[in-house]
């Protein structure tokens, strides 16, 4: 009755902001970015990509509570770019990687299609009873208490 809709785990509400940036007051060139309605899938990938970039001094993410559908990512840069810009660069780079991977997958799949590797599965066992002969349980014929 009172449960929130399950899709609130991954759909932004009306007017909800997908990201929220808080600049760090004590550490230079650092920011904490809250990304709403996303989880480890995006967080860990971004963290790894950020760490591979030379401008980054620190990058880390956490999902503060498993029931709260957001994660926060802390970024500190060396000062040549802002954390926000470097996160954007990381996203662009990841999209590039994914796009090239997508093209390679497409090529590989098209080769496999030509080879005709897609075969039927389970066609040989279609006539067997998959539940181990349920039909064998016929009752001893004759009268049944249901036959009134």
């Amino acid at each position: 009755m009172n449960a929130p809709n399950r899709y609130e785990l991954y759909v932004l509400e009306d007017g909800e902001k997908p990201v929220e940036i808080t600049e760090d007051t004590k550490i230079p060139n650092a920011a904490t970015i809250k990304i709403v309605k996303q989880d480890h899938t995006l967080g860990n990938m971004l963290r790894a990509q950020l760490l591979s970039m030379p401008q980054i001094l620190f990058a880390g993410y956490k999902v503060p509570h498993p029931l709260h559908p957001y994660f926060i990512i802390k970024i500190q840069t060396d000062g040549t770019v802002t954390p926000q810009e470097v996160l954007e660069q990381a996203c662009t780079k990841l999209i590039g990687t994914l796009a090239s991977l997508e093209a390679k997958f497409k090529r590989e799949f098209s080769f496999k299609d030509v080879e005709g590797a897609v075969g039927g599965v389970g066609s040989n066992m279609a006539h067997e009873d998959p539940y181990g002969g349920a039909g064998g349980g016929a009752w001893s014929g004759g009268r049944d208490y249901l036959d009134f």
Partner: protein
């Protein structure tokens, strides 16, 4: 982790079958490969039975039991992105041909032997059949129906003679009659929407990186036999020093689908979904200052004439009119779209909602139940 960036990722498909694909992914991070795995398992939309209305059940299984089993039946979901809407985005009130699929099951046993009720007994009601949905004609028909393939919404395996999924066994005189409504969703909400039945993911078959510890009694190699993926990599030499800087760069995947989508579609949709997530994040980062100004200059999308009271304060962050408010949802309380757009109607208790008589729930139009249950199930089980 640095120094690998110049290398492009590569992929090699080792085997492609009707419902599974086995491939090797190289030159990517562990985090990247894991995200690919996660997105294929949890973020790809499919259709599955979401509501069951049981009319007659004289079988030995209780209603809930059967409803849950029905939910797990994989239904053909090819081209799910275009072929069906999410009910929460649909203009209808509780369900229509654009956002739901009706399936019927009516089986009675008249023989002297046990009868299997299986997924093959589920029949799809063809879209457009009059009387399928309780409130007809209140929804805008889209082009979703034309994008549907032949097997869309049908229980997997019904057309190719593969063995069916057992739902229940009934004996003479027992009867099972019910109505199911299948909807679109993703596995983050409920695992029944996952297109994958199993995804195997392996790296470092020799455990060179020591990401795991092999417990053994006397002989580690004898007690931990190598898997087939070990042939792809060089075995470690005896006495090789541990390279603590090494990172995993090769990943062995085996994606097995439940038949609702083909393996190719799962992989390609997964990659596309990841890109969408990243693109939305970029959009969110970019739109911090600009978009608020854009929305305040653009009053047509929200039914208010005086938008300046809302969106005026630049980057302040109070503005409730994000880009998502565009599609006729928003706060325009008296419009019929409000009741339809939200199956739950959580936030609609605000005083802005002047439509309908009930002050809670789905804006009055959705349910006569007063307190508006979050899901618009009439009597059915929310599986």
């Amino acid at each position: 982790m640095q120094g690998h960036d110049d290398q492009e990722p590569t992929v090699h498909i080792r085997e492609l079958k009707k419902d599974s694909v086995n491939f090797v992914l190289k030159n990517v991070d562990l985090a990247f490969a894991n995200s690919v795995r996660r997105v294929m398992m949890a973020d790809i939309p499919t259709v599955a039975i979401d509501m069951v209305e049981i009319e007659i059940n004289t079988s030995v299984l209780p209603d809930e039991f059967i409803a849950h089993r029905l939910g797990m039946v994989p239904l053909g979901s090819s081209n799910c992105d275009e072929a069906i809407r999410n009910t929460r985005d649909c203009t209808c009130l509780a369900g229509c041909d654009s956002c739901s699929i009706m399936l019927l099951l009516d089986v009675q046993c008249n023989d002297h032997s046990t009868m299997d009720v299986t997924s093959h007994h589920l029949d799809v009601v063809p879209p457009g059949t009059p009387g399928t949905w309780s409130q007809e004609g209140d929804s805008e028909a889209g082009e979703e129906l034309s994008k549907r393939g032949e097997g869309f919404g049908r229980p997997v395996g019904k057309d190719d003679g593969s063995p069916p999924i057992l739902i229940c066994k009934i004996r003479k005189g027992q009867h099972l009659k019910l109505k199911c409504v299948a909807k679109k969703g993703i596995a983050k909400e409920h695992a029944k929407w996952s297109p994958c039945s199993a995804v195997s993911f392996e790296y470092d078959p020799y455990n060179k990186l020591r990401h795991t510890t092999h417990w053994f009694e006397s002989d580690e190699r004898g007690e931990w036999p190598l898997g087939p993926n070990a042939q792809e990599e060089e075995p470690p030499r005896d006495g090789e020093p541990f390279d603590f800087n090494a990172q995993p760069r090769t990943f062995y995947f085996d994606v097995e689908t439940d038949g609702s989508l083909g393996p190719q579609e799962v992989v390609m949709k997964g990659l596309a979904e990841l890109q969408t997530k990243l693109a939305n994040l970029i959009l969110g980062l970019k739109s911090q200052p600009e978009l608020d100004m854009l929305t305040s200059a653009d009053p047509h999308s929200n039914g208010h004439a005086t938008t300046d009271t809302w969106g005026g304060d630049g980057g302040g962050g109070a503005a409730g009119w994000g880009p998502a408010a565009g599609g006729g949802g928003g706060w325009g309380a008296s419009s019929p779209a409000r009741g339809g757009a939200s199956t739950g109607g959580w936030g609609s208790a605000s005083p802005a909602n002047s439509g309908g008589g009930s002050s809670w729930g789905g804006g009055g139009a959705a349910s006569s139940q007063g307190w508006g249950s979050p899901n618009q199930q009439a009597n059915g089980w929310n599986v």
